[in-house]
Subunit: 154 residues, 2 copies
């Protein structure tokens, strides 16, 4: 069910992205708030980070953390253009889906890489499935903002 | 883990609500978009609806569906004031927490009331836990919008 919720969330974000031109995606989601450009880079960096935290692969887009995660949008850090982010977004989600399919039920209950063996012994809920659940909520949160780039989104 | 995600989400929404005056909560989250008033009523109606769908209690706030769910904000339907919605929001969440504590692991995998016995036989993932997961994502989505009522929320 958590996997289904993840996939549903990606599908919903894709639906928004597909309905926006690159130019529309560059706009602010609300006056003075993050643009669609920043949010797409942010979601991409976080999803790429999840691939690493779940121990599936080495991260390949660590360079997106500075422009889209650890610094606010207005920081003078060069950002990959929207068109490139769209490509990478599709590719990261394809890879995540492939890894999800290969992940066994038992494996979901194992430790993820942001928690030490010692802490995991005390807090066994800090497993891979929990990370997926939290990252799904994180996507929903920003989808609520991206929808404001569409004409009638509520 | 799904229950923890729900409780975390409620806590985060409460933190936003506590930081806003009633007047601030009445503002639009972005130009031409839903106000905090509407979103709070909406979340409240949906959480009250969940109590019914999970078979915990009869719904007590069905009258909130017309102003906050089935009609857009601009519809000329009288809306309970923000102060009253805040009270009801606390009370509905307290009741949900109490019911969650009494729900057994097995019970989470039973059918919820929005799915027929027949459909549930075909789609057993449409259980109570799945409803909770989806409603948690729904809250995150609107939290991403409510945060725009705060000064620096991203």
């Amino acid at each position: 069910m958590a996997v289904m919720a993840w996939e549903t969330e990606v599908t919903r974000i894709n639906k928004i992205l597909d309905g926006l031109t690159d130019q529309e995606l560059q706009k602010e989601t609300a006056p003075g708030r993050n643009s669609g450009h920043y949010l797409l880079g942010h979601l991409l960096a976080v999803s790429d980070g999840m691939i690493g935290l779940l121990g599936w692969e080495e991260r390949s887009l660590k360079n997106l953390d500075a422009p889209f995660v650890s610094n606010p949008e207005k920081a003078a850090i060069e950002k990959l253009p929207v068109a490139k982010l769209r490509e990478l977004w599709q590719s990261v989600n394809t890879r995540i889906s492939q890894h999800i399919q290969k992940t066994s039920a038992d494996d979901w209950f194992k430790r993820h890489n942001a928690v030490s063996d010692e802490d995991f012994a005390k807090e066994p809920h800090r497993n891979k499935l929990n990370l997926l659940i939290n990252r799904t909520n994180h996507m929903s949160y920003h989808r609520g903002q991206l929808i404001y780039l569409t004409k009638k989104g509520e």
